[in-house]
Each structure stands twice: as structure tokens, then as C-alpha cells.
Symmetry: C2
Subunit: 253 residues, 2 copies
């Protein structure tokens, strides 16, 4: 592709600056039944028709990246207000990712509670949750370079839990310490001692806030319900405050 018209950027470079199509992809992670899951769509068009892929699409003129990511996710899952914590993951490309040509993609990471995706028989691309382990062991294959992006996203999620309060982003508004612990266990793929985890989570200043209410109806003693403390709640899409110090250590591999 050659650019002929003067576009205002020329004087800075000898060669004409290339323009690239830019997409945003979203790695939406959640925990279902104690396992880390990722939201995938089934592609209806080529390339990779019929394959699974991360939800995403082109950035429109006048949009910010995070906006575009939120819009695409909303369009493809049917939720209007998106739950959880959205942040930028990183950019990939532009070379050799898409058989149609160079495309730059900016991947994003959503850590969310287990929300239902609108998937009933519309002709839109079918979105659903899939266990991350199924991708990692090769049982599911993804389009484009999405397996690499998913890998990076999972790595990021793992380390985020250590020193940020974002584990709570996987839970709803109110949650028990045990629910929070299953999140850590699912993301890290380890078992944690419930007693020590409880002490660490409730003992970290500025992390959890007791609602005063408790669960009921489950087996065993009712659990206290907590919410994320105000200081730890991230502003929409904004830089996360690291409040866990010392970090919640994950057991060595």
C-alpha cells in the first residue's frame, strides 16, 4: 500500500508513515467452578471461519483504546455495563498476524465475575466461556496469535493477584473470604491453606471491608461477607494502586 496524498505527517520522515488497521482484543477471564475460564467467540467469517478467537474488533476513528475494547466486548456478549476490571495488556504485530495484511492489535485484560453471556441463537458470533486449561493443553485451538495473547494475559493475571487487590475483581460486589480464595487457587493453580489465607486477606489494611452481613443456607458455619475497601477499588480503567505489601505470595512452582 502506498500513500499518495500529503497527510500532514510527512515532513518528519523520509518514507511515508504507514497507516495500519488497529484492532482491540479482549481477554476476559473469570472463575467458574474453581477453574479459570476465558471468553471466546466462534468466528463466522474468514479467515479462521469456525475457529475460536478472542472477542475484538477494529478501533473506530475518534475512539480511545479502552473505549473500543469495552464497546467490542459489550457488542459481542450482550452486556451493557461491563463488570470487573479492564486494563490494557499489550500490543502485538503488525506483521504476520493476519493473512489479509498487517494489523496491529492492542490486547486488553478483563478480570470479571462469572457473568452470563448472551449467546442464544442470534446470527451474531457465538460467545461462551471455555476453561483456559483446554487451550493450554491443546484441546482447543485459537485463531490468529490469540493463544500467545491468552498466555500473556494469564501470566499478567497471576502476577496481579500477588501485589494488587484485583483478585476481588473476579468476585461480585460482596463475597466471602473462601470465594476469594478459590479465585486465587484457580488463577495460580495451587491450593492455599484456608486459615492462613483468611488471616492474610482480612489482616491486610485497606484490602477488605466487612459488610457486617453473612451468608446463609450453605453447609457449615455462615461466612462473613466482605467488599473491596474503598482505597483498593480501582477507578474505571485507571492505574491500579498496589496495596498489598508485603505481597500475597504464591507458592513456588
Amino acid at each position: 500500500m502506498t500513500i499518495i496524498a500529503y497527510d500532514g505527517f510527512m515532513p518528519e520522515t523520509r518514507t511515508a508513515p504507514a497507516r495500519f488497521p488497529v484492532t482491540v482484543d479482549v481477554v476476559a477471564l473469570t472463575v467458574r467452578d474453581g477453574e479459570l475460564n476465558v471468553l471466546l467467540i466462534t468466528r463466522l467469517i474468514d479467515p479462521f471461519r469456525g475457529k475460536l478467537a478472542l472477542p475484538g474488533g477494529f478501533v473506530l476513528a475518534g475512539e480511545e483504546l479502552l473505549e473500543a475494547a469495552g464497546r467490542e466486548l459489550a457488542e459481542e456478549t450482550g452486556v451493557e455495563h461491563l463488570p470487573g476490571h479492564l486494563e490494557q495488556l499489550g500490543s502485538y504485530g503488525p506483521k504476520g498476524r493476519d493473512p489479509r495484511g498487517d494489523v496491529l492489535t492492542v490486547a486488553h485484560l478483563l478480570l470479571a465475575p462469572n457473568f452470563p453471556v448472551l449467546s442464544a441463537g442470534s446470527d451474531a458470533e457465538h460467545a461462551a466461556w471455555y476453561p483456559v486449561s483446554q487451550v493450554q493443553n491443546g484441546a482447543l485451538q485459537l485463531a490468529f496469535d490469540h493463544e500467545r495473547i491468552l498466555g500473556d494475559a494469564v501470566e499478567r493475571a497471576k502476577s496481579k493477584l500477588e501485589y494488587s487487590p484485583l483478585g476481588a475483581a473476579f468476585c461480585g460486589e460482596e463475597f466471602t473470604v473462601a470465594q476469594l480464595r478459590t479465585v486465587y487457587e484457580a488463577v495460580w493453580g495451587t491450593r492455599l491453606d484456608p486459615r492462613n489465607f483468611h488471616r492474610k486477606a482480612t489482616g491486610t489494611p485497606g484490602f477488605l471491608e466487612d459488610t457486617g452481613r453473612t451468608t446463609t443456607g450453605d453447609a457449615g458455619r455462615p461466612a462473613a461477607l466482605f467488599r473491596l475497601a474503598g482505597a483498593a477499588r480501582p477507578a474505571a480503567g485507571q492505574p491500579t494502586r498496589a496495596v498489598l505489601n508485603p505481597p500475597l505470595m504464591r507458592p513456588r512452582d
Copy 2:
């Protein structure tokens, strides 16, 4: 800007996918005289003519992001083989960053030893090291949104030192523990106990490798020279292995 020609991407969206000029910017950090410095160029053209800015430029067709960042840095500093560790920082835009129109930039982070920049009176953009503190206290102002990018880069560098061996990227091939310590002190802006730092650095398995050689000519007892151990050395531009566990803790602010 409107795209008229069919470009192969259309069927996926109702609206034509916008194409954006994409730049790469590089936040090159080093430690000089115990202080964190950043490499800045003086802009020779509008917009922001005469202002300081991060080195960077347009991604060319067929280039990868990291390649482009390396090329731009090499062009603007005159080094042919670039020292240190280069990684992607994050993407900014495309809206409202450049008065000429929407531009997406992918910022990169270079952690490097104090290398000399080619700055003698060419008509190219003048590149030089500046103390980061001068930008943070407002004495120096940067073009575009480069102050924000620099801020994010410094934040990233700070946390990288905690759990990765990348502090050594600021040193040359061989270095003493004291040199490494001044890096940590400069980046974190704190003082560290030399004795405890020595124990932690040399005691962390897979971090430092004794060369058997020592310094000479300085005041005091000669110091042992180390290099980064093989397992800790990052492959060019590739994911860094976190080997510091437990992390080198930085003192609480």
C-alpha cells in the same frame, strides 16, 4: 479521513475500519551519577518545535514494533548495537495526543548502561540524557503526552527491579555489587543498607555469577566483579523470567 477503496477488512464491520498512523516511542533510562536519567531529543519541527520529547517515530510497513523501536533509537542516538534491555511498555491514544490528528503510539522501555549518545553538531535532532527528577518537578516539560508515558515507564522500572533481575541491565557486562546497589537506590529513590543488599544479591540463586576478577585502583578494598547469571539473562526483547523470589523488597514510601 475517509477510506473509499475496499481494503479486504470491510466484511467484518459495518463501518470502515479506520487506519491510524502508528509511532513507537522509547523511554531509555539509565543511571548517571547515582541519578535516574532519561534520553530526550530536542524537536526540530512542529508541532512542539524546540521542546523536549522522547525519541521515536513512525512504524514502517513490514516492521515489528520492537524492531521499529530499536531502529528509531539507533537512528536518533547513533549507537548501532543497542545496549541493555528493551521491552514494550504500553500503547497510548489514538485520540487527542497530536494536534495533527489521531496517532497511536506504542511506548517502549529501555533499561541501559550509561552509554554515550551521538550528539555532536549534526542537523539531526539533538539527543541527550536528562535527570528524570527535572521532568517530575516541572523544570523540564515534554511534548505530546510524553510526561505521562515517562511516568508510567519509571513506575514500571521500579517494580521490575523488585522481582526481576533487570537491575543488572543498567550496568555493563561486569559490575560490582555496589554499582548494582546504586542502580536500585537511584531508581527507587531510597538508600539501601550496603551489607544487607550484598547478602541478598549474592545470596539469590540464579542471579549473579562471580567472574573471579576484582576491581582495582579505587579507594578501599577491591570489589568482586559479577555478571548476570545465564539463567537470568533475558533473550533479546523476550519475556523476562522472574527469578527473584522472594522479591527484593523496596522500602515502603
